[in-house]
């Protein structure tokens, strides 16, 4: 039953969910602010760049099979320095997880259930996340597999019913995007969606046998999710207009609100919100899985990782209550600090790992390490 490995399909679905994750709520407005009606071009650029970034990560995955990120740290940097790095990554992921929890919590609080206290929603969600990690990665992957058709269905439902409200002229004039703007936008997309993928997916690396089908699924997942986001940005621009999109906190939700079919099917944005819930749930659970695995690995209790779910969940919960004191802070942090550290965790860190892997491979087998699979030729 629980062989402990994922299928290619499950991997693709997890990648899609992860990338769409919080991005779907927030990024369209950033991009619209940046390039107005050219926002979708930025997203497209980001998708392409992002998929390349994923491919780059795959190089590292392929060369270090059978080990998750934290074991890699210890192997490549030495035991103690490795543990320090692992702990740092885990702690950083705790911060990210609490941010994601905040995002979904504030979304629910402000848009759907304003009377419910923040703590209650956060606790409910966190409970489900902890339960998910305790059930195990394979169970979670299967659940994602089951929910995937529904996500697709909701997405299509959303697009279908919003068609009457689309005004293509809001896309004009096309390609008025200047170079720096494009770079910024692409960077924003990649930092939000693609860079965090490294630490999260590397943490579950053990469960992924990297044959060709897996690699293909992984990359397809990256591209498909990006494309879905392109469509969403397009729709958002065409329905709300670039100015409005830039100003809204949750532009895609506002678009969903406009669905009005024959005066009967209205106010069904909650159903579309389910889409957001599902993808964010899985993003959060994947983060949490990385946290639990990382902390457990650091302290040498890898087998009992699941038991740490409750206390670490508590920690993430508490942090989520005050990690963003207010909206201004959120915007500033997300643009500045997040970009910096995402670059470090998404570019610098993997590059170092890759370099270290290649170096180690050249020195042959070392004591305390496993035989290294040096992948297929040079990168």
């Amino acid at each position: 039953m629980n062989d402990g490995t994922l299928t290619a399909r499950q991997l693709m679905i997890l990648v899609i969910f992860f990338i769409i994750g919080t991005t779907i709520l927030v990024v369209p407005s950033t991009l619209a602010a940046e390039a107005k009606q050219g926002a979708w071009l930025l997203q497209l650029g980001g998708t392409v760049a992002g998929t390349l970034v994923l491919w780059f990560y795959m190089l590292i995955f392929k060369r270090n099979t059978e080990q998750n990120l934290f074991e890699m740290n210890e192997r490549l940097f030495g035991r103690l320095p490795g543990k320090a790095v692992s702990l740092l990554v885990a702690v950083l992921t705790i911060v990210f997880a609490s941010q994601v929890l905040f995002y979904i919590g504030s979304f629910i609080r402000t848009q759907i259930m304003p009377d419910t206290p923040m703590e209650a929603i956060h606790v409910l969600f966190m409970f489900a996340v902890v339960a998910g990690v305790k059930f195990g990665l394979v169970t979670m992957a299967r659940t994602a597999e089951i929910y995937f058709p529904w996500v697709l269905l909701l997405f299509i439902f959303f697009l279908f019913f919003i068609i009457p409200d689309i005004r293509v002229n809001q896309l004009m004039p096309l390609s008025e995007v200047e170079g720096m703007s494009f770079v910024r936008g692409t960077l924003a997309v990649v930092t939000y969606s693609y860079f965090p993928l490294f630490i999260t997916f590397a943490a579950m690396h053990r469960s992924i046998p990297w044959q060709k089908s897996m690699q293909r699924a992984y990359l397809i997942g990256g591209f498909v999710s990006g494309s879905m986001l392109v469509v969403l940005v397009l729709v958002s621009t065409m329905v709300l207009g670039p100015m409005n999109t830039a100003v809204q906190v949750y532009p895609t939700y506002v678009v969903a609100r406009k669905i009005n079919v024959g005066d009967f099917l209205q106010r069904v944005e909650v159903i579309v919100a389910f889409l957001w819930f599902i993808v964010i749930y899985f993003k959060l659970t994947l983060y949490f899985h990385a946290i639990v695995t990382g902390v457990a690995q650091t302290f040498g209790i890898a087998k009992q990782a699941k038991s740490l779910g409750v206390p670490l969940g508590l920690l993430v919960f508490v942090l989520s209550l005050y990690i963003y004191p207010n909206y201004v802070y959120l915007k500033k942090w997300d643009t500045l600090t997040w970009t910096s550290e995402s670059l470090i965790l998404g570019v610098v860190y993997p590059s170092v790992l890759l370099a270290a892997t290649i170096v180690r491979a050249k020195w042959g087998k070392k004591s305390g390490g496993q035989p290294i699979d040096s992948g297929e030729g040079a990168s």
Binding site: V95, P311, F317, L319, T335, L336, E341, I344
Partner: protein, 80 residues
């Protein structure tokens, strides 16, 4: 305050159950880590319930990454 105490109670309850289970299975180190994190979490909840402001790790990150932030701003890769 109420939410804080409920959460506290629940986490201690769950903690007790899980810790006894782990202890009987001789996973001493896990018990230690679990207890440490649990205490940390509960302390934070209590402090927050009492109204004391807690240090924000996001701030630490910002402080640590300030040079990089400035560089990025300078490069025009991000705009505030």
């Amino acid at each position: 305050m109420i939410t804080a105490s409920i959460l506290l109670g629940l986490s201690c309850l769950v903690g007790a159950v899980e810790l006894t289970r782990l202890w009987t299975k001789k996973h001493k180190r896990t018990v230690a880590v679990y207890a440490a994190v649990l205490i940390m979490g509960n302390a934070m909840i209590v402090l927050r319930g009492l109204g004391i402001a807690l240090p924000n790790p996001a701030d630490w990150l910002t402080a640590a990454l300030t040079p990089l932030n400035n560089m990025l701003l300078h490069l025009g890769l991000i705009e505030s």
